[in-house]
């Protein structure tokens, strides 16, 4: 257990360091722009906006809260202080809503959509990859190219195709949104039904795109394990093939947890874009509307939240992996 604590401590330290770097990047990158981002954007906005006085007011308030006229270091401290209190300023485009309010209403949708979808996709992908490795013959010639081809359909492409096929032509699923547009979120049977029917298309399109990459990875991992010495040895001791296949898949599957941790950033990127296609009311769509409206505080906060989510998930997966795979235990815990 002492070893595990050390492993945990090391991972936690990494998490904290990465977190700090992520926050700094999130703060610094937009400020590397030649002009003050907020000022230039507000200027541009005010030009075409009928409500110029409102924009000016947001800007002033933002400047006061975030001290955009003060030196960088001071700004950064203010930024951190505000972020800890969940204060990211007011949204430029959805005035007078606050950024944290917008994010709070979006984050639940994203978590509820993406995590189950990615996990289901991961599981299905692993099962298919393992089967593919075990069957080999025929699969390699015919199914592998097909699987590879499908795995290369970009996330947004899969989303659009699903939307057109199931939403537009077959009309068995609604086209966009998280629930029927004439409803107000509340706890009722009708609302839940509407949410579930709107959930299907985005969910399955993320599942399908996650399957491809995972299956290919699991297939090579399983083939590698099937050629391992312990397989031959176990066979020569008279152990049944079915039992040995069990060993192989367990061993191939465990590193896939790390594979998931490593690819979760990329997967969420694709899934966020899929959200946009379905106008799903999550962080992806929030980010999209923020970008199109040049809503600087909202972009900054959304990217930060997504980074934090990915960091936390990666950290948790690392911890779980360390617990369940004795190979890591042996390498890391002593």
């Amino acid at each position: 257990m002492k070893g595990y604590r050390k492993y945990f401590g090391k991972k936690l330290l990494w998490f904290v360091i990465t977190f700090i770097v992520a926050v700094i990047l999130n703060f610094v990158l937009p400020r590397l722009m030649p002009a003050d981002p907020v000022a230039s954007i507000t200027g541009r906005l005010a030009g075409g906006n009928s409500d110029a006085s409102a924009v000016a007011e947001i800007y002033e308030r933002y400047q006061k809260e975030f001290g955009t006229d003060k030196p960088m270091i001071e700004q950064f401290i203010l930024f951190c202080k505000n972020a800890i209190h969940g204060n990211f300023g007011l949204s430029f485009s959805q005035y007078p809503r606050s950024v944290s309010n917008i994010i709070a209403s979006a984050i639940g949708w994203t978590i509820a959509l993406q995590f189950p979808a990615i996990i289901v996709g991961w599981l299905l992908g692993n099962i298919l990859g393992a089967l593919a490795a075990y069957i080999r013959k025929g699969y390699d010639k015919v199914l592998l190219p097909i699987a590879l081809f499908l795995g290369n359909v970009p996330a947004f492409g899969m989303a659009v195709i699903m939307l057109v096929v199931f939403g537009v032509y077959l009309k068995i699923a609604p086209l966009s949104g998280g629930y029927a547009f004439d409803m107000i979120p509340h706890l009722s049977w009708d609302f839940i039904k509407s949410v579930i029917s709107h959930y299907q298309l985005p969910f399955w399109s993320i599942v399908i795109i996650s399957i491809g990459g995972q299956a290919v990875g699991m297939r090579s991992m399983s083939i590698y394990e099937l050629n391992a010495d312990y397989v031959k040895y176990s066979r020569f001791l008279g152990i049944k093939d079915r039992k040995i296949v069990g060993y192989v898949f367990r061993n191939a599957m465990l590193p896939q947890v790390t594979g998931l941790a490593m690819s979760i950033g990329t997967m969420i990127g694709g899934a966020l874009v899929a959200e946009i296609i379905f106008s799903y009311p999550g962080l992806g769509s929030t980010m999209y509307s923020a970008v199109t409206a040049a809503d600087y505080p909202l972009i900054s906060a959304t990217t930060l939240i997504i980074t934090v989510m990915v960091l936390v998930v990666t950290f948790l997966l690392d911890i779980i992996y360390g617990f369940i795979d004795p190979r890591v235990k042996a390498a890391q815990f002593e």
Binding site: S234, L237, G238, I239, N251
Partner: protein, 336 residues
């Protein structure tokens, strides 16, 4: 003469490559091991000795394929038996195997005791976990292995411990024949000694009845086994007792092999060390005549085109060369 535990008659197996070519890796091998005896097989890498070990298990999976010949364990011919029957009633109980790379022979994510449970239950599904555990603990204690190793994962064991664990697991069902393929080659000297000691113990205590020991280290064989065979290009070229083979090799290949190794004994310091030039023949198309002819400095035109029979001499010695024993000894003498 004791009871014959393992008899191999004219065994032939081949590999089929992914380009559908046949590689005749074991080409007509015959020998026998008596109860309580051990036999060593020596040869360069690629001579087919590891393939011979795999072929004797009677359990084939691609790319290795059985062609012909008999493998008789304690009177029971296992060649041609249904693979599932071999798996159930032969592997592990009649004949057991210690693989070349024992470092990776254990499933890294499984506790040793769980693996032992799987091994025992593959042959006797009724055995309870407690019984197996008791049995494993007793055997580990007997062989001087720490009992807590049972609860560990393979990755948590050191190299030497892993190897000794593999040996203990392989012999847990008291197989009649144990085939060990380079069990100690990858170990440091101390671990190597412990492994050898353990294998001797297994024989002495009667857990195994006979042993086939494969290695490229001849001096090791001299210390471990009763008899030695030298293998070249899929065939046995010479067979005799350890003493005879090391100090009085007859076949030009064995002779060259002995001269190319260092035996740390008195008198060997001054010996000239020679390596055998050339490479073994391609086993996709083995030559018609003597397989060693291309590298043999005493070879004549006849050697290349005449099939060489196994010849016996003295008592129980065998070699495969066109020249007579006396003639060979004479040419060796001239060389000195």
């Amino acid at each position: 003469m004791g009871k014959v535990m393992l008899e191999v008659k004219n065994l032939k197996t081949k590999y089929i490559t992914r380009f559908h070519e046949d590689v005749y890796a074991v080409d007509g091998v015959s020998f026998a091991i008596e109860e309580g005896k051990s036999l060593g097989i020596a040869g360069e890498s690629g001579c087919g000795k590891s393939t011979l070990a795999l072929s004797m298990m009677g359990y084939y999976f691609p790319p290795l394929h059985y062609m012909s010949g008999d493998i008789i364990i304690d009177g029971q011919n296992i060649s041609g038996m249904d693979p599932d029957a071999v798996r159930k009633s032969i592997l592990g109980t009649e004949i057991a195997y210690i693989p070349q790379a024992a470092m990776n022979a254990l499933n890294p994510t499984q506790r040793i005791i769980r693996f032992i449970e799987d091994v025992v239950r593959a042959h006797d599904p009724k055995k309870s976990k407690a019984e197996i555990r008791e049995m494993a603990e007793a055997r580990f204690a007997e062989l001087g292995l720490p009992a807590d190793a049972l609860m560990k994962h393979a990755v948590e064991l050191s190299g030497g411990m892993k190897q000794r664990t593999v040996i203990a697991v392989s012999t847990i069902l008291n197989p009649k024949v144990l085939i060990a393929d380079e069990p100690s080659s990858a170990l440091d000297v101390t671990s190597q000694k412990m492994v050898i000691k353990m294998m001797r113990e297994l024989m002495e205590k009667g857990y195994i009845k006979s042993m086939l020991f494969i290695t490229h280290e001849l001096p090791l064989l001299y210390n471990v086994t009763d008899d030695i065979m030298v293998m070249y290009a899929g065939q046995i070229v010479e067979k005799g007792t350890a003493q005879q083979m090391v100090f009085d090799p007859v076949h030009p290949y064995s002779h060259g092999l002995m001269k190319s190794i260092l035996v740390p004994e008195e008198g060997t310091r001054g010996h000239k060390l020679t390596a055998i030039p050339g490479a073994p023949p391609n086993l996709k198309r083995p030559p018609d005549g003597c397989r060693f002819a291309a590298r043999c400095k005493y070879a004549t035109a006849d050697c290349r085109y005449t099939a060489i029979p196994e010849k016996t001499f003295d008592e129980g010695r065998m070699y495969r060369c066109l020249m007579g024993v006396d003639k060979l000894k004479e040419v060796y003498g001239e060389d000195e």
